[in-house]
Point group: C2
């Protein structure tokens, strides 16, 4: 969200996604911003041929690293105007690593490292640019989400109704 939006002091932002499995590994994703505004988007994920998919769309992890990178970049540009920092150019380079371990017939994963390098071309002092990055981190929905341990509640649909999993 940028500074052209009239937002109240506090708000809830909600995104929903309805995913439908099609083909071998493709997921068609109907995404809706529900609050505070209504917007709809169509996306899809797939896996490459050597992962058993048809490579018809990017894999979920490509979308994930792209979402994180796009989020912090959006925040930097939105907040630059508010903090009076001039941006001639902005590039961000993100690297994410996960550990992957085979366990019986399946596998388990865990995050290993997150690195974000910010390249800003600005006539303003380094300290002002650093303040802009600090402020953007706090405004970046995805960064703030990754910084805390989140509880994800799962349910499965059964003949008797929803069951917690």
């Amino acid at each position: 969200m940028s500074d052209t939006v009239a937002m109240p002091e506090k708000a809830v932002v909600q995104f929903d996604c309805r995913g439908t499995a099609v083909g071998k590994m493709r997921n068609e994703l109907a995404i809706e911003m529900v609050k505070p505004f209504k917007e709809e988007f169509e996306l899809a994920t797939d896996e490459g041929k050597f992962h058993g998919g048809d490579a018809s769309a990017p894999p979920p992890l490509a979308m994930f690293v792209g979402a994180l990178t796009g989020c912090i970049m959006t925040q930097i540009r939105a907040f630059a105007k508010r903090l009076g920092v001039s941006l001639n150019d902005l590039k961000v380079e993100t690297r994410i690593q996960w550990n992957w371990q085979a366990v019986d017939r399946v596998y388990e994963t865990a995050p290993k490292s997150f690195e974000i390098d910010v390249l800003i071309d600005s006539p303003d002092p380094d300290d002002k640019v650093a303040e802009l990055i600090e402020t953007a981190k706090k405004g970046c929905f995805i960064e703030q989400t990754l910084g805390v341990g989140n509880t994800i509640n799962h349910r499965m649909k059964t003949a008797d109704g929803w069951r917690d999993v």
Copy 2:
């Protein structure tokens, strides 16, 4: 990753993203899977017109909820074969909420709730389907990442080299 991949017992999975800011709020994202295989993807984010963008691509949060949904769906399908669960149909409905709060000239955000509803049409017993979902949660890179507080290391490029932010 599905079961067609020959993976060692342990591995590091790495995704990089190089984002370039263009136009008003658009970010062009060159994404590379670096380990354990090389693959490249091109994505982009933008914001809607009332957020100061040109709506030329989905916003980062749409990609984020899509990545999470696609990740758990991919894991459910990959692991169903390994656990011997038949899937006639798979749908997943995800809802994510964040709190948004104005602070001085900018704003801050925090995650509020994550809900994932799984709709599986299977002839197998509910307990086997529940086990599949539990196993998929542990194999889902993004779920496992969201479940822990992650440290994200930022650097900014200066005339004197990299500076931690």
